[in-house]
């Protein structure tokens, strides 16, 4: 039996991550002011990229800007309003999952419909994945970014690796007797 993994995992380090939370009544105005997605499960590209977490919160991520810079922009835009912008760059680890069987692997861990029509590039979803809270972002071109509490990153990594033992996640499924 040959094992040709139909997916790849890579750790993504150094990304700045900020969570913004506002009062639900103020969510739309904050979203408009900061160009954040207003629609459920929506991710918007940009620097920072912004991802819908709930009707009153977003995750902002950036490769280039520091968390402090992102927060400073929020501070100036939402000055005088109640909001909470927390740097979570360390709290969350990010694992990128890509390859033709990435969706197969994701569907092994959670009940989200992984059909590309139901979860398309440009969308994000928070779910219970293999008993963990996980944010999955379907990027336009680079598979999926998975954001997990850093304490659980090792577990998640091992879990995702172990999924490769299922021939369904391998490039040439083996059907040996």
């Amino acid at each position: 039996m040959h094992n040709r993994a139909g997916y790849q995992l890579s750790d993504i380090d150094g990304r700045s991550i900020v969570r913004l939370r506002v009062r639900p009544q103020k969510a739309n105005s904050a979203a408009d002011a900061l160009h954040l997605p207003r629609q459920a499960m929506q991710s918007l590209p940009g620097d920072p990229a912004s991802h819908w977490l709930g009707p009153d919160q977003w995750l902002l991520t950036s490769e280039r800007k520091s968390a402090a810079e992102i927060i400073a922009t929020i501070d100036s835009t939402l000055a005088g309003q109640l909001y909470a912008a927390n740097d979570l760059s360390c709290a969350l680890a990010c694992i990128n999952l890509s390859g033709p069987h990435a969706r197969t692997v994701l569907a092994m861990g959670c009940g989200i419909d992984m059909h590309p029509d139901a979860f398309a590039p440009g969308q994000c979803v928070r779910t219970n994945f293999a008993q963990l809270p996980l944010l999955i972002i379907a990027s336009q071109d680079a598979g999926f970014d998975l954001y997990v509490d850093r304490g659980y990153a090792e577990y998640l990594h091992q879990w995702l690796k172990a999924a490769g033992e299922d021939p369904m996640t391998q490039l040439a499924p083996t059907h040996e007797a």
Binding site: A107, C110, Q131, D149, A153, D166
Partner: protein, 983 residues
């Protein structure tokens, strides 16, 4: 050399004669072909007795060709241990399989357990309830247990890969017989996402076992063409060897998938619509000695010739109450099986059938039934009797007919297990003598034989509509395909399945549990007449096939015995699993390390390198102690404690729950949450607080820091962080949504490094930092922020050890470097694990929620009466503390304790006892205890009735049968004045 397969036909069947497979059965080397099941290969080799029955150890043969199998349940070795109770009729043969009979000793052909059969009258229904009472059941239990059980637990390593998958679709079609395939064609045509699941290793269902013509094609080409169309459509997933086992709420179904060797998958399917095209299961006839090897279901016998190219026996008597067995008889005949007669309960038989039988020279015996069979190990003959006019008795004259097998048909019963699981109700159809669908709670359509359409044209016509309708219901265009068939056929039936003659003790109803007609009669006599009582008393339908071939006959009998219509008797409840499935499949990947996730500290690797011994505390994996230099547990903990008391210790407190609460109403909110007054807390300061539930019970404690005017940071115990976060949200969102505040959990963002001990200030001051660690600018219970060792840090001066102590929070990614930097800076600083911290806090009398308190401890029990009394405003749990019971002085209260004899081994879990008359009574217990290296004796904390008033008293401690004396003390053993804390 493998023997010739004596019952294999020269041609035909979906097997590949060019791929022989060698296997072993009870030590005999045999051969089958690719495409065989174990059962078909055994039959091909002329093996009739394959196992022994559960209770009477009767010889049994292969009984069916499908999921309803009761005889061919065998132990199979396949490089994955010896697996018992394998369904030989559903398991594809593979090279090298070693197959054994089970439930027999010493061998399947000569089984000592058979003596149970000869004394069967002793073991009738309920025998264990009525006997074995004297002198006591325990005298018999072990023997009975050894006799019970089908096969031995699988042994050896389990190398199977078990995996879970989730799937969403619009239409799930269960069963890929002609009905399922037709429904799939229509559903696919609409553009819906379709899943078609079939439990057998190939699709086709009953088409594989019969001659037919669909769209001008024979079965095999039509199936192949249909599969090709479905695969091309792009929106259909066809799954084989995939049994739909459970139908749960909200249209979620589970599939056990065995399609890859060495791998078992469990699919959880969420679907908008379900089409059940699960076919029907042929029901057996009940007559005397109807369980001998060679007796099988007629459609199954037909399956062996058609699908596997195997003659089940050389000559088969066909017995039936309906038309369908004629096709079996003709098929068998046409494939070289001798048919001595067709025994039909009906007087009037369709002329077309009679004519076809005549053409083949097969005699028909109308109005007749089998009344007994004979044969030693294998069947040799059957006795036929003629029914009286009313079919209630058998006329005296009878005759024996020689045969080596019987193909019987009592008609079909739709496979509605999943329908019932889905909340479907069944009703009894008198004409078809079976149960059909009535109404269902969930979104399900039933088509084909499962819906009583036992003729191919009807089944196809209905199914193309059902497939389209399901897609339509799921929001797609309803586009049925057209399928034509020229087969006509007939399915007339007369309801009698049970022979009116013979010894009812020898008429099997449930083959697997050896339940006979006599057992059911007895149950009825004893008034176990509810169908559920009958089931439980006789255990009919409770074995591994869950009554697939016995339930209908059992309740037909019960109806007769109680003079009720079958409809009124009703069925027992159908439950998952439709077919039993290995527990490993259900657990999936959730094994060992993946059973529950472990949460690692930011500096996990560093702890590992320092010889930390880890244990799980809540979700976190934390250093219990550091076992450097071969230290044992106690020794290591002692040294760690002393390093804190004498110099300084470094403790990784990162798991501490951290939640920010921000907003103009944050203070107000927290004041409602904590027992303590938060409104008087000043910016830059910290307060210890207790949280209660509404019943006044302590649920957590921790400190609350006011970082800014409108920003607070709460610390919770590590294990409770997530729970408290959720709890705060619930109060805010559900009870006080008008309060202007935001709750932000930030636990993992920060590594928290605690430096505690008399040297701690000095050590911190030696590190490059702009934070002033002096007692004046950073007194106990205050905080400061700045740059520390080159990174941003917040320092809280709080203590869980009783020493001067600083909690340094830095971004988690810097945790390890800061730890390394600190340790490098001073030889006096030693890492300490969680056990040392627990000793330190016990010495200081600090509460450990969950150890010193449990779900019965309220705030007053731990000395919060003063704080509660002073606080004017309401808080969660306050009202409960006002109940007389909660205020009572009789309650268990927190105390310190030490053994009078200081060498006495005082342990947590011991109880305080008082003597109430003759009996000892617990007055509470030791909740924490440890050897205090500081005080050099064992000390403890406990909860004791009226404890606050009993300081100085000597009490009796009980532990594992021993008692000894102990003294009640103040809980604070160390530095009661707090000089070291405030230093």
């Amino acid at each position: 050399m493998a023997k010739r397969q004596k019952n294999r036909l020269a041609e035909g069947g979906c097997i590949d004669r060019s791929k022989p497979l060698a296997f072993e059965f009870n030590g005999r080397k045999l051969q089958g072909f690719a495409g065989d099941t174990i059962a078909s290969a055994l039959l091909a080799n002329g093996i009739s007795t394959v196992s022994r029955s559960f209770k009477y150890h009767r010889p049994r043969g292969v009984f069916s060709a499908g999921v309803e199998e009761s005889g061919g349940l065998l132990t199979v070795t396949s490089g994955n241990g010896d697996i018992p109770i394998v369904r030989s009729t559903l398991t594809a043969l593979a090279e090298g399989k070693i197959i054994r009979s089970q439930n027999c000793f010493p061998s399947v052909n000569f089984d000592l357990g058979r003596s149970l059969d000869f004394s069967h009258r002793l073991w009738s229904t309920g025998f264990y309830n009525k006997t074995f009472k004297w002198p006591h059941w325990r005298w018999y239990e072990a023997t009975i247990r050894r006799l019970a059980g089908l096969g031995k637990l699988a042994s050896g390593e389990d190398n199977t890969g078990y995996f879970h998958h989730n799937l969403h679709c619009d239409v799930l079609i269960v069963g890929a017989g002609p009905a399922g395939l037709a429904a799939a064609l229509s559903a696919a045509n609409s553009g819906a996402r379709v899943v078609l699941a079939e439990q057998e290793h190939e699709v086709g269902g009953s088409l594989l076992r019969q001659a037919a013509e669909i769209d001008g094609l024979e079965p095999d080409p039509w199936i192949a063409a249909t599969l090709a169309t479905l695969r091309q459509s792009g929106n259909v997933t066809v799954m084989t060897s995939s049994t739909v086992c459970g139908y749960y709420d909200h249209n979620v179904l589970t599939i056990a998938d065995r399609s890859d060797a060495g791998v078992k998958r469990f699919w959880k399917v969420r679907t908008k619509q379900v089409v059940l095209a699960t076919g029907a299961i042929e029901q057996p006839l009940v007559f005397c000695n109807n369980d001998r090897p060679g007796i099988m279901l007629a459609a199954s016998a037909m399956a062996y010739v058609h699908r596997y190219g195997v003659r089940p026996c050389a000559s088969m008597l066909v017995a039936t109450n309906n038309d369908s067995a004629y096709a079996a008889a003709f098929s068998l005949h046409d494939h070289g099986v001798q048919i001595p007669a067709i025994v039909d309960v009906r007087e009037n038989i369709a002329p077309a059938l009679v004519q076809q039988a005549d053409q083949r020279g097969i005699p028909i015996m109308p109005g007749s039934v089998i009344i007994d069979t004979a044969g030693f190990r294998r069947l040799s003959k059957a006795r036929i009797g003629r029914l009286s006019k009313d079919a209630q008795t058998v006329l005296p004259a009878s005759r024996w007919i020689r045969c080596s097998g019987i193909a019987m048909s009592g008609g079909f019963n739709p496979t509605l297990h999943l329908y019932s699981q889905a909340g479907g109700k069944l009703h009894y159809n008198v004409q078809l003598a079976c149960f059909l669908t009535a109404t269902c709670a969930q979104q399900v359509l039933v088509a084909g034989a499962a819906n009583g359409r036992f003729l191919l044209p009807d089944a196809l016509a209905e199914s193309v509509q059902a497939g389209a309708q399901a897609a339509g219901n799921a929001g797609f265009e309803c586009r049925p395909v057209a399928i034509s068939t020229s087969v006509a056929g007939s399915y007339a039936l007369q309801a009698n399945r049970i022979s009116p003659a013979g010894d009812t003790h020898r008429q099997w109803v449930d083959w697997l549990h050896d339940v006979t007609v006599a057992d059911i009669e007895q149950a009825a006599q004893e008034n176990f007449v509810s169908v559920e009582h009958m089931k439980r008393y006789t255990s009919a339908g409770m074995s591994v096939d869950q009554g697939k071939t016995s339930n209908l006959n059992a309740l037909t009998l019960l109806a007769g015995l109680t003079d009720k219509p079958i409809e009124e008797v009703g069925t027992t409840t159908f439950r998952p699993q439709f077919m039993p499935l290995p527990m490993g499949v259900i657990a999936g990947q959730r094994r060992a390390d993946f059973y529950q996730p472990a949460r690692l500290l930011p500096a996990h690797d560093w702890h590992l390198a320092k010889d930390a011994v880890f244990e799980d505390y809540g979700a976190w994996r934390r250093p219990e102690y550091y076992a450097g230099n071969g230290k044992d547990r106690a020794e290591a903990i002692r040294a760690e404690v002393l390093s804190v008391r004498r110099n300084a210790g470094l403790f990784d407190g990162s798991p501490l729950g951290k939640i920010e609460v921000k907003g103009p109403d944050a203070g107000d909110f927290l004041n409602r949450i904590y027992v303590n007054n938060i409104q008087t807390l000043k910016t830059g300061h910290i307060r210890y607080g207790l949280m209660l539930n509404e019943n006044g019970i302590i649920i957590d404690d921790g400190v609350c820091a006011r970082l800014e005017d409108e920003l607070y940071l709460l610390s919770t115990t590590a294990a409770n962080a997530d729970r408290i976060g959720g709890w705060l949200e619930e109060w805010h969102q559900c009870e006080w949504p008008h309060l202007e505040l935001l709750i932000s959990p930030v636990t993992s963002q920060w590594a928290v490094i605690t430096i505690a001990g008399p040297d701690s200030r000095y050590i911190l001051q030696s590190i490059d930092s702009d934070i002033d660690f002096s007692a004046e600018s950073l007194p106990h219970m205050s905080l400061s922020t700045g740059v520390f060792a080159g990174v941003d840090a917040r320092v809280q001066r709080v203590s869980f050890s009783g020493e001067m102590s600083f909690e340094i929070s830095v971004a988690a990614k810097h945790g390890q470097t800061v730890i390394e930097h600190l340790l490098a800076s001073s030889a006096h600083l030693k890492p300490v694990g969680i056990e040392a911290i627990l000793v330190l806090r016990t010495e200081k009398g600090y509460l450990h929620v969950g150890a010193d308190t449990d779900g019965t401890s309220n705030a007053l029990d731990v000395g919060f009466a003063g704080i509660v009394a002073k606080k004017q405003t309401d808080f969660v749990g306050k009202r409960s503390l006002l109940r007389a019971r909660d205020q009572s002085a009789e309650r268990r209260q927190l105390v310190g304790i030490e053994a009078v004899d200081k060498h006495e081994n005082l342990q947590a879990g011991a109880h305080f006892v008082t003597t109430d008359g003759a009996a000892q009574r617990s007055e509470g217990m030791v909740t924490s205890a440890c050897y205090s290296p500081t005080l050099q004796r064992i000390i403890g904390l406990g909860m004791l009735e009226k404890g606050f008033a009993r300081k100085g008293e000597t009490v009796t401690v009980f532990d594992a049968g021993r008692t000894f004396s102990a003294r009640i003390t103040d809980p604070v053993f160390y530095d009661p004045a707090g000089e070291r804390l405030h230093a």
